[in-house]
């Protein structure tokens, strides 16, 4: 059966990774749909209307799942991690409440207006509702990442010995945590990369299928807009990721060392692109290795010193001991661990998969942009694979990145302050966690099948023929709505 800790961790991993398959699509695609909708309102050119409607439908199919799986996330802290919620709720709860009040209301309310607004509200206002939805998704990302950044690098709190918990000392510090300031752009750019890639992949597939028809220029437009968004965003991902690596080396050195499976402290540390063999340290064989690159990623200098896992193990223990000595036995229990090392192969491989999938997306977006220039249609059969893989790669890059971020922090739940083992709900039985785990997994799997089938059905259907919405304008009171459930 395992302990409820293990099951609760798996449950968090499954529900969060699943939820985050839909989140970047929502953030990225809402911006693209809002762009096409704005273009339609500005120019009244049919292709913009058709793309808004078509991509809007795909967006909504995805949004539904992101929404419902997000509710689980907010409840899960209290359900499975009640001791964590007690200990840091004073700080961690605030960004979640802000997220609901500032972001969820905005996003949900205006998306509802957007869906049903066709022909019922002024068109400029209508286009702006998708922008407001987009702003809602971005604000939501900001607050939830501020909460996560607190777990990576706790700032703006103090320990209150009277209540035995961590309490807010400086909310601005929590919202402007240096980890947050670089994670937010990294995640946001990553989401735009996904949004652009989904649009590009879908449109590329249709462009090749419908080449030579009247629809060809419509899909080419979408391919190019999607590819440009993805490509520009990917540059943002690289730059922010680079800064993030340096901040990580500073605030969570163990995570960076784990990312390279670097056991001994090294100057001019190399970065291995591929390796085989056991990663428990002794016999890792690096196949492709770039000298000095890890030092550069971590410190900005090819000859910089990167601390190794063996040394960091001791310094993490010293850090825990110091916290324990300072705050007494209640906290000593929270920071005690047998081993302060994350699972090295997980950190090592997820870091590489994240980067690899990201760079492949960049490559595909660049290729598509080149191949569709001057009214060309990419012909070779392998382009089907580019079309199919482009939406998937950056989504999975996001997943790998999160698995790396969270697994690289272990055994900590809040870095240096609370281990994951001490955060779990004491009153919830293993059986209960198993039940919810099985229920979520089965339900999520079934919904995934339905979602993917529906998504593909709508992709195959393509953009519907243009019907001028202005024709509805003079309709009488009893005329059918342009959209109804």
């Amino acid at each position: 059966m395992g302990s409820s800790l293990d099951v609760a961790r798996w449950q968090f991993a499954i529900t969060t990774v699943y939820h985050f398959l839909f989140v970047p699509v929502t953030i990225g695609m809402s911006a693209v749909v809002a762009y096409f909708h704005t273009q339609w309102v500005r120019t009244h050119r049919p292709e913009y209307y058709r793309l808004t409607k078509f991509l809007g439908k795909l967006f909504l199919i995805n949004f539904a799942l992101g929404l419902v799986t997000g509710i689980v996330q907010e409840f899960q802290f209290g359900m499975n991690w009640s001791d964590y919620s007690r200990f840091v709720g004073d700080i961690f709860g605030a960004p979640l409440a802000f997220e609901a009040l500032l972001a969820f209301f905005l996003e949900s309310t205006f998306l509802g207006v957007w869906i049903f607004g066709w022909g019922r509200i002024p068109e400029k206002l209508h286009a702006s509702t998708m922008w407001l939805t987009h702003i809602g998704t971005v604000l939501s990302a900001y607050f939830i990442l501020a909460a996560n950044s607190f777990m990576q690098n706790p700032v703006g709190y103090r320990f209150n010995p009277e209540t035995g918990r961590a309490e807010m000392a400086d909310f601005v510090a929590v919202l402007t945590n240096k980890v947050q300031l670089v994670t937010f752009p990294h995640v946001l750019f990553g989401s735009y990369m996904v949004g652009g890639a989904v649009v590009m992949g879908v449109a590329l597939w249709l462009l090749r299928r419908d080449a030579g028809t009247d629809d060809e220029p419509v899909y080419r437009k979408a391919v190019r807009v999607g590819a440009v968004v993805s490509l520009v965003a990917s540059l943002g991902v690289v730059v922010s990721g680079d800064v993030q690596g340096k901040i990580m080396t500073e605030v969570q050195p163990m995570k960076m060392a784990a990312a390279e499976a670097l056991y001994e402290t090294t100057d001019n540390a190399p970065f291995s692109v591929l390796s085989i063999g056991s990663l428990d340290g002794s016999e890792a064989t690096r196949i492709i290795e770039v000298p000095g690159l890890l030092s550069f990623l971590g410190t900005g200098s090819f000859s910089g010193t990167v601390d190794g896992i063996d040394e960091l193990k001791d310094s993490e223990r010293a850090m825990a001991d110091e916290v324990a000595a300072q705050y007494g036995p209640d906290v000593a229990r929270l920071v005690a661990a047998e081993d302060y090392t994350p699972i090295i192969p997980v950190a090592y491989w997820t870091f590489r998969l994240m980067m690899g999938f990201g760079f492949l997306t960049m490559l595909f977006a660049g290729l598509a942009l080149w191949a569709t220039r001057k009214s060309a249609v990419p012909q070779a059969r392998w382009w089907t694979w580019v079309a199919v893989l482009t939406p998937l790669l950056p989504v999975l890059a996001n997943s790998w990145g999160w698995i790396f971020t969270e697994m690289g922090r272990q055994p900590w739940l809040v870095y240096g302050l609370m281990t994951t083992a001490t955060g779990v709900s004491p009153s919830v039985s293993v059986g209960e966690v198993w039940v919810s785990m099985v229920v979520y997994t089965l339900l999520y799997a079934a919904l995934a099948v339905v979602e993917v089938k529906l998504f593909l059905t709508y992709v195959r259907k393509g953009a519907e023929p243009f019907v001028d919405p202005a024709e509805h304008a003079d309709a009488d009171e009893d005329a059918p709505l342009q959209f109804a459930y």
Partner: protein, 343 residues
């Protein structure tokens, strides 16, 4: 007790009231599909169901955010309350989540394929979710007020069966019945033609059933843990509900809906006034009740949260109000476009 602690106790109550008032009617509309969404033939049935779902279409998602905000605000303002409550109601909350998930997916996916089997399945999801969620929320809230076995470490020591006591089950039925009535009055207000007439007729019956259930629940709860003020709100709730039923029989649909909205809000107010000054009373002699004082956040967190609530709540109310204005038109079967969805 600090003023801000009291303010946040009130605000959490307000958020739950907002949730039951707003999502209450969309729960009701979803749960009434099999009764009001039945026409003279299959085509009419389908059109009536689409009318019903379209009335709540622009609103249900925003309505649900009240629940998320109630959860988030409890987390931030009363972390101990959030931790104890959410871990105590583990399995019921799991069911609430499943109910919300399947019904939300139903709203979004039902119309996406022109296929009867597909629609029937999502109808089941919508109906099941819309019945289960308000019932379970009612069970949970009633349990909070009634008291639970909570030990000196503020941990829940009961099981699932502790939660299934007669009073709480009755509370669940009350919230469900109230949501159905509220939903029927909403449909009477927002539709035209057959759905409107049937909603009015069904609404009266549902209203009387609700009145019966609510009276028993609130009396029981009041005698167990009531205060002077909770008796005042109990009376207001009862009067509002009876006035709503009367307004409905006279065809005053706006007043009928306002009446059940006031009932939902005052039922929550009654719960919170009966709860005060606890937030989760214990039934154990050796246990420790969670109180407004011992469950709350630090003064600084409460201050920050108060600032945010003061600035942003009016904005949220303003644009939420706009959506009801933008979609104020009554909908009838003539407004439903022919399905063009994918086979």
């Amino acid at each position: 007790m600090d003023t801000l602690q009291l303010v946040w106790f009130g605000l959490i109550g307000l958020l739950w009231a907002g949730y039951l008032v707003l999502e209450g009617f969309d729960f009701g509309v979803g749960a009434l599909l099999p009764s009001l969404g039945v026409g003279r033939d299959a085509a009419d049935t389908e059109k009536r169901r689409r009318v019903m779902l379209t009335t709540i279409g622009p609103h249900w998602d925003g309505n649900e955010v009240w629940l998320l905000t109630a959860g988030g605000a409890t987390f931030a303002a009363f972390p101990e309350w959030y931790a104890t409550m959410f871990s105590a109601f583990y399995l019921p909350l799991l069911l609430v989540l499943v109910a919300l998930i399947v019904r939300n997916m139903g709203f979004e996916y039902r119309h996406k394929r022109d296929d009867d089997t597909w629609r029937r399945r999502w109808d089941l999801a919508i109906i099941g979710g819309s019945v289960a969620a308000p019932f379970l929320v009612g069970v949970a809230l009633t349990n909070v007020v009634r008291g639970l076995p909570i030990d000196a470490d503020l941990e829940y020591t009961g099981t699932l069966f502790t939660l299934l006591n007669p009073l709480s089950l009755l509370g669940g039925l009350t919230v469900l019945a109230l949501s159905l009535t509220h939903g029927a009055f909403f449909l009477a207000l927002k539709t035209s033609g057959g759905v409107r007439e049937d909603a009015r007729r069904t609404g009266t019956t549902l209203g009387l059933v609700t009145a019966g259930l609510a009276v028993v629940t609130l009396l029981w709860l009041g005698l167990a843990t009531g205060s002077v003020w909770s008796w005042v709100t109990t009376v207001v709730a009862a009067v509002a509900l009876l006035a709503a039923i009367a307004a409905n029989t006279k065809g005053r649909e706006g007043w009928a809906f306002t009446g059940t909205a006031v009932t939902a809000a005052t039922v929550v107010a009654t719960y919170f006034l009966a709860l005060y000054p606890d937030v989760m009373p214990t039934t154990l002699a050796t246990g420790q009740s969670l109180t407004i004082e011992n469950a709350s956040s630090s003064p600084l967190t409460l201050k920050i949260m108060t600032g945010a609530a003061l600035v942003f709540t009016p904005i949220v109310l303003l644009y939420t109000g706009y959506t009801y204005y933008a979609f104020r038109k009554r909908i009838g079967t003539q407004h439903i476009p022919t399905a063009v969805a994918v086979k």
